[in-house]
Symmetry: C2
Subunit: 145 residues, 2 copies
């Protein structure tokens, strides 16, 4: 059950690293994040460009440049990140992919699927990066070995 693309997985993991290891008002270099999280620098750079253009990150070029959260970690929800990286139609998906689907008389799995999607969306929209980072820093949970 592959819910997220590699792009989203890496993006979320990298953001969690940033939030769990804050660098007071400074920019953090993509190279450092990629190295610490064992991700491809070039791929992560591409992912971060998307997050920057979606207002989740700010970036700054040149020496001592890098990326920083554009908003507080409390106000960035998993939903924001997923929509930015998967597209805004992420929760419009159809389980069976029928062509010409009409909600008027839906297909036999729609009732279930509607609820499953709503639950996921609900969880994503109620989970902030800071909530997850708190768990990491409380050592209840880990980002990597």
């Amino acid at each position: 059950m592959k819910a997220l693309s590699q792009t989203s997985k890496y993006g979320i993991r990298a953001l969690l690293y940033m939030v769990a290891n804050p660098s007071q008002g400074e920019y953090m270099s993509i190279g450092e994040i990629a190295k610490e999280m064992d991700l491809s620098f070039h791929f992560l750079t591409k992912i971060f460009r998307e997050l920057t253009s979606n207002g989740i990150l700010n970036s700054y070029r040149g020496p001592a440049g890098g990326v920083a959260l554009a908003k507080s970690a409390e106000s960035i929800m998993l939903l924001d990140v997923v929509l930015a990286l998967e597209g805004n139609d992420y929760f419009d998906s159809c389980l069976l992919g029928f062509p010409r689907c009409g909600i008027a008389k839906p297909c036999p799995v729609h009732e279930f699927w509607k609820v499953a999607k709503a639950d996921l969306k609900d969880h994503f929209s109620n989970t902030s990066l800071s909530q997850l980072a708190e768990k990491i820093n409380a050592d209840e949970v880990r980002l990597y070995d």
Copy 2:
């Protein structure tokens, strides 16, 4: 949120057609199913071979041959079809795809993800093809326009 591959989507749709349009003890040709469900004949044939080798369908070659359910529609669960077509590790997936994940101290989204996957698995394992086909035949729901 793409939960299923095209292979699974088409496979489920085609099976539902078969169950909703039973042909008493006879084999139904893949060509007919593909035509009625507007699927590629060759692709559907490939998918059905997988279902046949997994004991969900029986097949028979030659004139008046085709495919037929290998078990009663009451006893074929959505879960059986999904595992046959997506692989038995379908529900072992990881939301964030961390390498070297240890459940001992899981990553920050694991508690939620575990429950979401269990819910989906539960629903699939409690939903039979006949249950869905009944809804179709009661016209509460539709397979296509």
